[in-house]
């Protein structure tokens, strides 16, 4: 018996003229999962979402919802619902009318609609706002209405297209938590499109990173963050220490990589690699900076001097230039008095071989 997926792509492509917006993508989204599509603009994430919702028709391949091919099912008959980037609340209807819109089309009896709407308003904490029009609500409230309007239909999957992009930082943070809470409460599959890696990391069960119409890496947030598979993912996830390097030596446990500046770096292999690595990355929080002459007892340890200091509040970002010319960034806890350094000061840079993440082509 095959597993039931909420959403499945089988070799799905979407071409707009010569532009391959989505290129032979295979994807499975599990039931009840909070799944994110992450990538820069134009990577095909929104197009993928719209194909699930039925607003775009795949050029090739099949889209499944609940193991049923929905290629020829119009959006209004699909068991999915979208929360649009610009929310698309109907400006001529009240909050209650907006939420009831889909239910009315389903010809649900009036009293049931009323009950459902007030239940939904409770869920998104908007009770008492039924009579207002969208333009009388704050950004966050509008957000909630949009989510409620879709959720009230109890779709198999809720599709969210960068719904928080227009909000300010603080509200965004709140809404992230709120969305996650709602998703846990209702247990519906969420597919969330975003270009903000922090948002994806903080909310998702799994993340698919897309680039040029292809999923380049798919996995849980920790994996995506700690073990970016390619240079693109590493860059996109905000890693600062990314280096081109080639294999120097290899044994059962370790690789030795050589950077262009001639630095030899040790990396540990967890599993077999599909192709030869072309570089490596080290997360700044894994890099240790040690003041003094004593070499730290980690596999990789090099001497350099402090090139710049950027105060970030709780941590200080220290850039250290090694003798070969490579630059490393380390996050140093600001509160620790012992690590007070100045520009030009000589320091050690060190990290464990496990933290050297190999990058593939």
């Amino acid at each position: 018996m095959t597993a039931t997926y909420s959403v499945e792509f089988k070799s799905v492509s979407k071409f707009f003229g010569d532009v391959k917006a989505v290129n032979r993508v295979d994807l499975q989204v599990h039931k009840g999962e909070f799944f994110s599509l992450l990538g820069p603009s134009g990577c095909g994430k929104t197009t993928s979402l719209r194909m699930i919702g039925g607003l775009e028709h795949p050029t090739e391949g099949d889209v499944f919802i609940n193991n049923i091919c929905v290629n020829n099912v119009p959006p209004y008959e699909r068991d999915s619902s979208i929360v649009f980037q610009n929310l698309a609340l109907f400006p001529h209807m009240t909050v209650a009318q907006n939420i009831a819109f889909g239910l009315k089309l389903k010809k649900m009896p009036r009293d049931q609609i009323k009950a459902k709407v007030s239940e939904m308003l409770g869920l998104v904490q908007l009770s008492g706002m039924e009579k207002r029009r969208p333009d009388q609500l704050s950004g966050g409230q509008q957000q909630r209405v949009a989510v409620a309007r879709s959720l009230v239909l109890q779709p198999e999957v809720l599709l969210l297209d960068e719904p928080l992009a227009a909000l300010d930082r603080k509200l965004r943070k709140e809404m992230q938590i709120e969305l996650r809470r709602i998703q846990r409460d209702v247990g519906i599959t969420f597919i969330y499109v975003t270009h903000d890696q922090k948002e994806a990391l903080s909310m998702s069960d799994r993340i698919a990173v897309m680039k040029d119409g292809i999923i380049v890496q798919l996995g849980p947030p920790e994996q995506i963050y700690e073990q970016p598979r390619t240079r693109f993912v590493a860059d996109f996830m905000g890693a600062s220490n990314v280096f081109d390097a080639s294999i120097n030596q290899q044994n059962d446990e370790h690789f030795t990589m050589k950077t262009q500046q001639g630095l030899d770096v040790l990396a540990k292999i967890g599993k077999t690699l599909e192709s030869d690595p072309i570089g490596f990355s080290v997360r700044p929080e894994a890099v240790r900076m040690v003041v003094g002459n004593e070499k730290p007892s980690l596999e990789n340890a090099y001497q350099g001097k402090v090139a710049s200091l950027v105060y970030l509040g709780d941590v200080t970002e220290v850039e250290i230039e090694l003798q070969g010319g490579d630059c490393f960034v380390a996050f140093v806890n600001t509160t620790s008095q012992s690590t007070k350094v100045e520009e030009g000061q000589a320091v050690w840079v060190a990290w464990s071989a496990q933290d050297s993440n190999l990058l593939l082509a």
Binding site: N72, P74, Y76, E77
Partner: protein
């Protein structure tokens, strides 16, 4: 049922598009494109001596248009249309400017008041001009009373081209005013202020900043006034006393007075070609945004 249709149309968006655009395409095809071809067809038919049309092809109708009299009527039409356009522009620009800059919250009302008269019959208003413009009419009498005209003046307005021009400007003013107003309203005030700040005198500013920036509106207004006024026939007939005739009067003459459809069709064809050329050049130079300007 409707659900099935909707689903079908969803799968076949081409069919949906055709259904949506089909009726108006048919209307445009049969009432704009085909009639133009029919003009062409009638213009090469023969009219026999008893006035009946014979299906004999001939170019004679075009040949008989090669007559200085037709030529002068055409020139007069173009000249009066051009005069109307220029006068409309000269009058509408300060008016539109005044409304935009000093209209404040009355702006919409002021524009609306200009359009309002067009709600009552055009004919009645045109006839009213006869009584305003005649020798013992309100306008000349007022000018005499005020002393602008001497009591024994020989100024005549009615039944000559000044009357035609005045009433044409009256009829077409809003066609010019609205695009100009729309363009001026969109004008970026800071840009004008920057120009003044950089030392542009008002007239200089008008010439080198304002006018170029509302070019689209000026073009739209000019075409909307110029082209329809070429074919005008009511105003020159009534105001020109059937002396200052324009192309439209000749069409009326050929079709309804002398019942010579082939000749009239040839005239209409020549006019159509001229007008289509103007529209074509205009659409090329501003694109469809320009046409939209009048209405947004």
């Amino acid at each position: 049922m409707l659900r099935r249709i909707a689903a079908f149309l969803h799968r076949h968006p081409g069919v949906y598009t055709s259904l949506m655009i089909g009726p108006s395409s048919a209307v445009l095809l049969f009432l704009v494109a085909v009639p133009t071809l029919i003009i062409l067809y009638f213009s090469v038919l023969t009219r026999d001596s008893s006035g009946l049309i014979q299906q004999v092809l001939t170019l004679e109708n075009y040949a008989s248009l090669w007559d200085p009299r037709f030529f002068w009527v055409l020139v007069r039409s173009l000249a009066l249309a051009l005069g109307t356009t220029m006068l409309c522009f000269l009058v509408a620009l300060p008016l539109a400017y005044w409304i935009t800059m000093y209209g404040g919250r009355w702006k919409n009302l002021l524009i609306f008041l200009i359009i309002l008269p067009s709600w009552t019959s055009y004919l009645v208003r045109v006839y009213a001009w006869v009584f305003l413009l005649r020798d013992n009419g309100l306008i000349l009498n007022t000018l005499e009373t005020v002393g602008i005209l001497a009591p024994d003046h020989q100024v005549r307005l009615l039944f000559d081209w000044p009357a035609v021009l005045i009433v044409m400007v009256y009829s077409y003013l809003d066609f010019m005013l609205i695009p100009l107003y729309a363009a001026l309203n969109r004008l970026d005030r800071p840009t004008l202020e920057a120009a003044s700040d950089l030392g542009a005198r008002p007239l200089r500013r008008l010439w080198s900043i304002t006018l170029p920036m509302i070019r689209g509106g000026i073009l739209a207004g000019s075409v909307l006034v110029f082209v329809p006024s070429i074919g005008e026939f009511l105003v020159p007939g009534l105001m020109g006393g059937n002396k200052v005739n324009m192309a439209g009067n000749l069409l009326d003459w050929a079709f309804l007075q002398t019942d010579n459809w082939p000749l009239g069709a040839a005239m209409a064809m020549v006019l159509t070609v001229i007008i289509l050329a103007i529209i074509f050049i205009y659409l090329r130079s501003v694109g469809k945004q320009g046409t939209l300007e009048r209405f947004s």
